[in-house]
Symmetry: D4
């Protein structure tokens, strides 16, 4: 085939290869999915448009398409962790990226708590949800614009914080570069960062860390 | 002389010309100061190095050099406003810029309240000082790194917030560009921004606004 | 719901939460509007496309859609300030941003004077309107390309100048970054700046300042 | 004093405030150190020049200055974790940043394994050390230039990888921005990133994660 | 005509002028093709859309349109070199650029070996194909995202490596700039670089070098 | 020698080769000067430091070192044009670049009128000098910071305006890039631009144009 | 109306206001055209799409739409200069910008000589046309990609060279920024530069200079 | 020791490890040199300052320090190739980078022909040396500023051209980024590019290619 699917990844990295749907034809996604199916593991396709999802749902009736997350999932983990990953967003526009993170985490067997739209413009909303954030195993903070929420959360918790800048905003947000650089310069320690809009990558990291706690 | 000093500025703008000391020889600063002296107004020179200050203090024994602010002042306003300008910084490294703002504001006759080192990494320090910030006529917020303090303050007060990004930080702080873009993208309304490290400009704006309150 | 609407904002900041329409579905705008309606305050939605406006006008027959401003307004302030905000543009292409500022200001109860297309290429047009600019409480200057108008106005008035760079131009205008950096470097004092095309933010700031004059 | 030392940080974040020595006078470092001493915790000062270290060693004879790391340490943790943090560098020029990470991790009580100069230009050096990397609890990968080592390591381990771009290189390395962006775009999953040259931040994150494994 | 076709190029440079189809109308491509036909040499048009190809195939029935490569070819070289050019890609999304390189090389008479989807996230795939890469005369490595594959290959072979950054990726990939700068900073020697997505340019260079080996 | 001095330039371009002193040793400048001396034309060396000038003055006692301009001149043109070049600066800090332009123009036989420190912050200074600007053959406008003076002058004259951005300013002036982009986006027509701080290049252009007027 | 048309521009600048069609509705162009018609001067509208041109041709039957140039012209100058402006392009893709320049120049009464597709990849094409370039009054050189043609022409002529970078190219051409910076750094003197794709601006400048030669 | 010297590189890549002297202490260079000495191959250290060279010359009396190239060489190849590498520079300021290339090439056993200061501002100098360039096996072209020489040479030869941008210039040369991007966008085919100021890398590539011709 056109692709050399990495069927040893689960053994090497603990997680099977995930299909990045952007720029792939639906035929290519189907072909790779079939390759991976033989392994009997969870199969996650990210960045899948609604149009492609229609085809995938016909081909793989057991699969579920998560519209906000733009993810297609087959054979998700049936058992979830005790500890949970908190996924926190600054605004409502960041929810798409947050759902990509949430579905990724759940597919890989993690419990997730969603805490959306608690940005610092109305900081009382954050404090109202602080206990849920503090009790998580890992915290993912997702924000566009100036990304200030990351530093505030980072200053209040003793858990690893994984920050996801989003491309939400206009003008000098520079499609997310401003939020990214802001997060990399956080005055709070304990924060690490992934690529702009990379909900998948944040959840993948969070899952590895959350599983440590579970003793896996 | 080499310069065309703008002696009509006080009439036109409400404030006399201010001397920007960077890149001027001390002889040039002396010459312009002498031109302005004939007007009998407050004379402020900013970005004056300690070396140049020695010469200025000899030439103009009535003048005072403010070392942290790097400002040299002659004939400051003797009467201060009732309302005050709050000058808030995120870290201790921002104090130089904050003092440039404070001395500028005081020279022009404004009362000032300094609230330094209350960045969001330890946000309780901000809340401990919140009343002083809320009761100001205008708030200047000065921060480097990711500049998150601006958005938090902006979300908590109903006064104009003037943000000053500083070049404090390293790596992706890009000498202050990151803090600047962060502040321009603040999720809180009511924030406007001046150039990187421009304590003078922030105070000049704040003074105009504070004087409105005083009914000037 | 999906959003945590900030219903305490009027108490905290003096102004209710404003709906940023870009990237929200019309259903989301309707839902948030209904949440805010219970408070009986002015409700402003910005960045509302003509298509979405049709739905909003049906849902809220009392509302008015301002086409140039792309704003939808319910319950605007019925009483306007004595002092006024001058809104000045360099060209005709900047009028969209100017109207976003004007409608925002009026919705919040400010008198506004519009002075459009007086850029420095024909500077006599500016001087012909100078009295109206000088007599304002606050001046908003809106310009794209090189943004030179800001410095000229800033050098002629003794009121706060809020500058709005626009994305108007091509090539090295860099979608407004050039105008923005130009304004941040203005050789005139008394200028502060908001994000590119951010007419709303400029008016929000101007309104706070204008209300000070009114003794509010 | 000039600073508001955050004495509640250990309770809130699990770690006491760390002194960032860059841009602070040695008097300021001494003053903050004395504030923190009363808490009886490990005290770490980073970015301390050799000149400042001389003064600190006189003032605090129990302290140790780590020259390569440019860190000054008082009361380091006496007990180390069972699991260890692997610190991997691409070249010899990255060792300064790596030592900042190593000393930070050790001061906070973590075992550390140093694996330096194993960049992909001679990839057999990496494979020769792969077992030590795979058996770590967390892996810190430090590289300048193109940062390719991060993706290779990320593809071979099932542990969290924290990547630190360094400013090592010339021309289009852009003082570390190229390595940073390279790492954020890693084709391997499980990688998160901190600011350029931020060995401290990487170790702080790694320590939180490593302590989870220890059941702390 | 509108163009001054460079009919002396084959004599001067060893290769005839190649038609860059982007931004040319199909009429312009036809006209230039007819000019070049009189010389009786291989005629290559790159960046030809499927729509334009339909017209070209009608006009020049002997020509072949290569869909993945987006190239239209007339009179390709009938005799291929003994030595071959290895064309290596990191992912499946880089195949379009790789095919532009492959068709260019073959049109000019070079043997080509395609080795696709062997990126470093699953580095065993590269080692499985290493002999084919090492035995080539020249190696073209094509990668987007962080471009790490170039440094790994560069460290393993003793042949010239020509690197092609692609615009594949998102966020901080900056449309290929990150891969480009990464490749220019490769820690492996023996690598030179062409413009983003420039499969044609890489193959043109590789062909000149490969022909040296053939003693042409 | 190490250099291939272009002794045909006067014939080809109307002006002899000019020595760019930056980065050349004084021995190299002496050697090239001696090569050019045999032609009996004006010899101009730009970017000559005061230290190098001491050596040049000893070697070539007829030469004159212009300290502000940092130029060393031998055999300047003895006859000046009737029409003149107006050299206009925004501030006093731009005078170094202006003098490089002025000395270049005079060395090549042009009359020059210097109009310095008339920036738009005090625009009445410009109007007070407008006749001198309007009556020039060509106008050079030199400005740093936001470069607004160029657009104002460009809108008032019917002569070619050559704009020189300077690196004067701080923060977002980006070492002159902001002034440059501002000038390239001037809303006034009739403006062309040279490199940052390139007083020499502006004068060279102005001289060619001024000589046309003289009928040369 | 919405616009303050600058009807004094011809008197002040020697040329009437020109209509920049981009982003204006056809109704706005018609309205401004009617304002300008009363002056009886040449009326030029640039950046006019084919769709808008249909309406303009109906409204103003005497007008001519130049398709390649995207310009609509009414009352062009009937008498042309003796001296001519040479308009030189590197490639065929630069012709659109070149025609904007040519039509602008002709509308304002200048003779023009078009010399297209003579880029340095086949430098003999340039030498074949060198006499026509050398005999011009002013030379406009238009190039995208790396813009090398400007330096070669600049080194061969003794006339003012106005360089226009175009956005032609891909990858690191950065939409024309690379050609622009290349031209600003030309090793040949006598070159000044206008904004990317600004054929109009180049011709406006060239016209002023060409008219000097004519003694206007 | 601190470094893992890659003693297998000669076997793998055909060339031994080269010491990059920048940022290494002279002790580190000595230590690595001693490691490599045991292999009995040519040892090249680049970016060696004059101060470090003094120590190296004492330690290794057989070594030679090339001052312009800033290279220290031990055991250079005693036998040179028949074919030669042409090293061409635009200006005299590019000679340092050119010598780094020349010494690298000679150390590895290549004949070299130096053709310096033939930039396009005086293009007759290039044509006077064209035969020597055309007869080379490989051509290295080194240029700062706008880098136009690369495209002109690339259009005239049928050999591989390796382009080296230099950081020579000021203002918008952006420390070599402009020359780099210019070269990557060359309108001439057959050009590939290395990092800014990377004379070593260009020569390393050229040597591999030149040796192919020799049948090695
Ligand atoms: N949304 C995503 N963002 C970033 N990387 C992803 C995403 N989804 C999948 N990936 C990664 O991309 C790899 C597949 O790349 P490819 O070979 O191009 O399909 C997967 O193994 C994941 O590591
Ligand atoms: N090397 C370092 N890099 C980044 N952050 C640091 C470093 N060292 C200390 N810090 C952080 O900087 C904070 C102190 O900042 P400040 O109030 O400016 O002294 C500490 O609490 C740490 O979180
Ligand atoms: N200050 C200056 N700025 C820009 N270019 C200059 C300057 N002074 C001289 N030049 C140009 O640089 C050329 C000499 O370059 P070079 O061969 O490196 O000495 C001269 O012929 C001038 O065209
Ligand atoms: N193609 C063009 N590029 C740049 N500037 C132009 C162009 N066409 C017209 N202009 C200028 O734009 C001005 C009109 O701007 P506006 O008031 O926005 O219509 C004219 O007076 C010209 O100076
Ligand atoms: Mg919200
Ligand atoms: Mg602090
Ligand atoms: Mg107009
Ligand atoms: Mg090494
Ligand atoms: Mg793949
Ligand atoms: Mg001045
Ligand atoms: Mg062509
Ligand atoms: Mg030279």
């Amino acid at each position: 085939g056109f692709a050399k699917v990495d069927t040893q990844r689960k053994a090497r990295n603990g997680y099977p290869e995930v299909i990045y749907g952007e720029g792939k034809t639906v035929e290519q996604i189907v072909a790779i999915t079939e390759d991976l199916l033989t392994e009997g593991k969870a199969i996650l396709s990210t960045r899948v448009s609604a149009e492609k999802a229609v085809v995938l749902e016909q081909k793989f009736p057991d699969g579920i398409y998560h519209k906000d997350a733009r993810c297609f999932v087959l054979n998700p983990s049936s058992k979830l962790t005790d500890g949970y990953i908190a996924i926190v967003t600054a605004g409502t526009s960041d929810i798409g990226v947050a759902e990509e993170a949430a579905i990724t985490a759940e597919t890989f067997g993690n419990s997730v708590k969603r805490i959306y739209d608690v940005g610092v413009a109305g900081i009382h909303r954050l404090f109202a949800n602080l206990d849920d954030i503090k009790n998580a195993s890992v915290v993912i903070v997702i924000a566009g614009m100036e990304g200030a929420l990351v530093s505030v959360v980072g200053g209040l918790v003793d858990k690893p914080v994984i920050a996801v800048p989003t491309s939400v905003g206009y003008g000098t947000n520079l499609d997310g570069i401003t939020a990214l650089f802001s997060m990399l310069n956080s005055c709070s320690s304990g924060v690490s960062v992934v690529n702009i809009d990379n909900g998948f990558g944040a959840a993948y990291n969070a899952s590895i860390i959350n599983k440590i706690r579970e003793g896996e």
